[in-house]
């Protein structure tokens, strides 16, 4: 217990997110703003979902444990759906902002592409979602205590950390896929994203049967990751090229016109 568990679990839960933020987001002001605004949108969705849950709990019988459990599941489902609704709302907002940035920029191009915004918005949803899920648990892990003394699983902290990591990555991938699906109007992709989010959240209801919850969730994470990679334009060929570190001959011509270089995507 104590500092070791705290740092270990914090590292597991937020290591990938921190690396992604430091490497890709922190340097660009616009991406930081997209990150913070995405967190805001997620918070609003959570607020609404908790309001619905709170109202439903207060209208119901408090003593009935099964009913309360059912209401909690219902609240979780509502929250997932609201998160996706707000992701869509954020997509709309970013699309408008993208057009605005493009019109007022010098060369007609927005300084940030919609794909980058999709990635950053997914990351922001993931980070804030992960933080809200796990930060109080991490804070408790610093102090003294025995995990699972009343018969619960002793692996609570470490599994929470892994679940959070999976969730952060999943949100990032979902963001990329979601925005791309909205752009190209592939509504079946949208439905699939929502369904996989519901599935992931549903699998966590199987906790503490961690074999049934953690393993499938990680499989889902991997698959979604591959899907997002392909959606973002990656391919096996790209990976090989990147790994072989070969310098490709740039067959494009540099135009020495007024301060312009060819548009690179």
């Amino acid at each position: 217990m104590g500092a070791a568990v705290f740092f270990g679990c914090a590292g597991i839960a937020f290591g990938p997110a921190l690396a992604l933020v430091l490497l890709t987001v922190a340097a660009e002001p616009l991406r930081v703003i997209v990150l913070v605004a995405g967190a805001f949108f997620w918070l609003v969705s959570l607020l609404l979902a908790s309001l619905i849950w709170f109202v439903s709990v207060h209208l119901s019988d408090r003593e009935d444990a099964k009913l309360q459990y059912g209401l909690l599941v219902f609240g979780a489902a509502v929250s997932v759906l609201l998160q996706e609704v707000f992701r869509f709302a954020y997509f709309k907002l970013l699309k408008k902002a993208d057009e605005g940035l493009a019109t007022i920029s010098e060369d007609g191009r927005s300084p940030i592409s919609l794909r980058q915004m999709a990635y950053v918005s997914g990351l922001s949803f993931g980070i804030i979602s992960g933080v809200f899920s796990v930060i109080n648990i991490l804070a408790d892990s610093i102090g003294p205590g025995i995990v699972g003394i009343h018969g619960d699983s002793p692996y609570y902290f470490i599994t929470s950390a892994f679940l959070t990591m999976a969730l952060v990555l999943l949100h990032t991938f979902w963001g990329v896929i979601f925005f791309d699906a909205c752009e190209k109007r592939r509504y079946w992709c949208l439905g699939l994203v929502v369904a996989s989010h519901l599935l992931t959240s549903g699998l966590t209801f199987l906790n503490p049967w961690y074999e049934a919850s953690l393993v499938p969730i990680f499989i889902i994470t991997l698959c979604t990751g591959l899907w997002a990679f392909v959606t973002a334009g990656g391919s096996f060929h790209n990976v090989l090229k990147c790994l072989s570190c070969k310098q490709e001959d740039d067959s494009r011509v540099m135009m020495y016109s007024a301060l312009q270089v060819p548009f690179e995507d």
Binding site: I33, A39, A139, T200
Partner: protein
């Protein structure tokens, strides 16, 4: 377009690079109505020992520094360096003029919106740092969450029998505090209007002395107590002395920009901690709510005290109080001859640099008779000090031909944004109170933090669109309060239940 890119090659920047920061009173300029101008807000008494003005200002400034056009480069006379504060006397207006001009509307709009993201980050970082310091202190040093009495400005206790009595007491406390603030602000405006600069300076110096020495001594003592560090008085005296003196120099005189920013953040954090400690709960929330309403009124209404303060400062072409404003970039002291109403009033010749008459400029650039924006009084002072020197177009051209070894970047992004220290303080009070008293603990703190950042972002966006001084408190504090109460009462039970079952959403 070229002018904009070339403006940073202004050789007068050479001299500026010798020192990082100029005397505080001359640093901030009051901008003219066409440009972004800022306003200061309330005067905030911090404890019963003295009235301090440290937590004044909760307004947002947007300064376009040196956004010159090419013709302006020819207009730049010698920059006046005001490094002897004793040259200010009561009743003498300061003649440091820093003027900014937007070129065309379209480029301007592109610039402010294009560079808006960077300014937002330039404000996110210090606001975040201040909040981190406050939250870290609240969480670790128990002194600031212990109830040790209340300020004399909030005389009614909140430990009452009934909820109604508590509500009434907190409303009375908030009313007293707000009226004290209003009275202080009006007093400040009156002092400023009647040019009692010495009184204002003395007031500012006393309050920063108090913060830098006394409050930081208490803070250091409490931190040592928390971590059980053995310390002797001599070492503490040495540390506090150094900290305080360097702070006074940085804030009121010259110093490296980062050091000055760090000190401003530290004194904002100290002030916020004092409020968090001495304001009871309901009173604190009420005060936050009422202060953001007051901020809105004072900055935007035509007869608001802060608006009057800024307009007076603009009429006199003076700077406002730099000790109370966080600035994200260095201030350039370039005297620009354009649109100086005093000069235009005094001289009867054509205004060379009249923005509305760009056609005149080329033939009038060699006009010897222009005074370059310096008033007669200033010129007399200068002549008395360094002998009669007149800057001619030839001499100006010669100086401009000097290579510039200015270390500043040359892109227009160096325009800065200013945020009043009062904003820092109240943001930190909100987040600190949230972390001290919320049952949701870290969730509530983070929600308030995100809400405040988004409010700041929106305020900056409005600033970029409207280009006038805006109150920075209302949007952020509103979001912050909404998120605090919503997260503490609605989200926290929900997340608690989910975490209990290890459900993830």
């Amino acid at each position: 377009m070229d002018g904009k890119h070339l403006k940073r090659k202004d050789p007068f920047c050479v001299e500026i690079s010798d020192f990082q920061r100029t005397a505080p009173m001359t640093e901030l300029s009051a901008h003219l109505p066409q440009f972004q101008h800022g306003q200061l807000t309330e005067n905030f008494p911090d404890n019963h020992l003295s009235n301090t003005q440290e937590s004044m200002s909760s307004a947002l400034f947007n300064t376009d520094q040196n956004d010159n056009s090419e013709r302006r480069r020819h207009d730049n006379n010698e920059r006046r360096r005001n490094d002897n504060p004793e040259s200010e006397t009561n009743g003498q207006p300061q003649n440091n003029i820093q003027q900014v001009v937007e070129q065309d509307e379209e480029e301007d709009e592109e610039l402010t919106l294009k560079y808006g993201a960077k300014h937002v980050i330039m404000l996110f970082v210090p606001v975040t740092l201040c909040m981190v310091v406050v939250v870290a202190t609240i969480k670790s040093v128990s002194f600031y969450t212990r109830k040790d009495g209340q300020l004399i400005y909030t005389p009614f206790t909140e430990e009452t029998e009934t909820v109604g009595q508590r509500a009434l007491n907190s409303i009375l406390n908030a009313a007293i505090m707000i009226s004290v603030i209003i009275v202080m602000t009006i007093l400040l405006v009156v002092l400023y209007k009647y040019r009692c600069y010495k009184v204002i300076h003395g007031w500012l110096i006393i309050s920063s002395l108090l913060l830098l020495f006394f409050f930081s001594f208490i803070y250091l003592g409490e931190v040592f107590k928390t971590y059980n560090v053995a310390m002797d008085y001599i070492t503490v005296a040495l540390m506090i002395w150094n900290f305080g003196v360097v702070g006074m120099i940085c804030i009121h005189w010259k110093g490296p920009l980062r050091l000055q920013q760090a000190y401003l953040i530290m004194i904002s954090a100290l002030m916020a901690l004092v409020f968090i400690k001495y304001l009871p709960e309901w009173t604190a929330w009420l005060i936050l709510a009422v202060i953001s309403v007051y901020d809105l009124v004072a900055v935007l209404c035509p007869k608001g005290p802060l608006r009057m303060l800024v307009e007076t400062a603009q009429e006199r072409n003076e700077t406002l109080f730099p000790a109370l404003i966080y600035s994200s970039t260095m201030i350039w002291l370039v005297n620009m001859a354009e649109e100086d109403p005093e000069a235009q009033r005094k001289t009867s010749k054509n205004s060379t640099y009249d923005k509305q008459a760009p056609a005149n400029q080329t033939q009038n650039e060699d006009d010897e008779a222009d005074d370059g924006g310096f008033s007669q009084e200033w010129q007399q002072q200068r002549d008395n000090r360094i002998g009669p020197i007149e800057s001619t177009p030839e001499s100006r051209a010669a100086v401009q031909a000097l290579p510039s070894n200015s270390q500043t970047s040359e892109d227009p992004e160096e325009r800065g944004v200013k945020l009043g220290l009062g904003d820092f303080i109240f943001y930190s009070v909100l987040v600190g109170k949230a972390s001290a008293t919320a049952s949701g603990d870290w969730n509530t703190t983070l929600a308030c933090f995100v809400a405040i950042l988004i409010g700041l972002c929106l305020t900056l966006l409005l600033l970029a669109i409207f280009k006038k001084a805006l109150p920075a408190l209302p949007i952020s504090i509103t979001f912050g309060l909404v998120f605090y109460f919503a997260t503490d009462n609605l989200v926290q039970p929900f997340m608690d239940q989910l975490a209990f079952h290890q459900f993830y959403i």
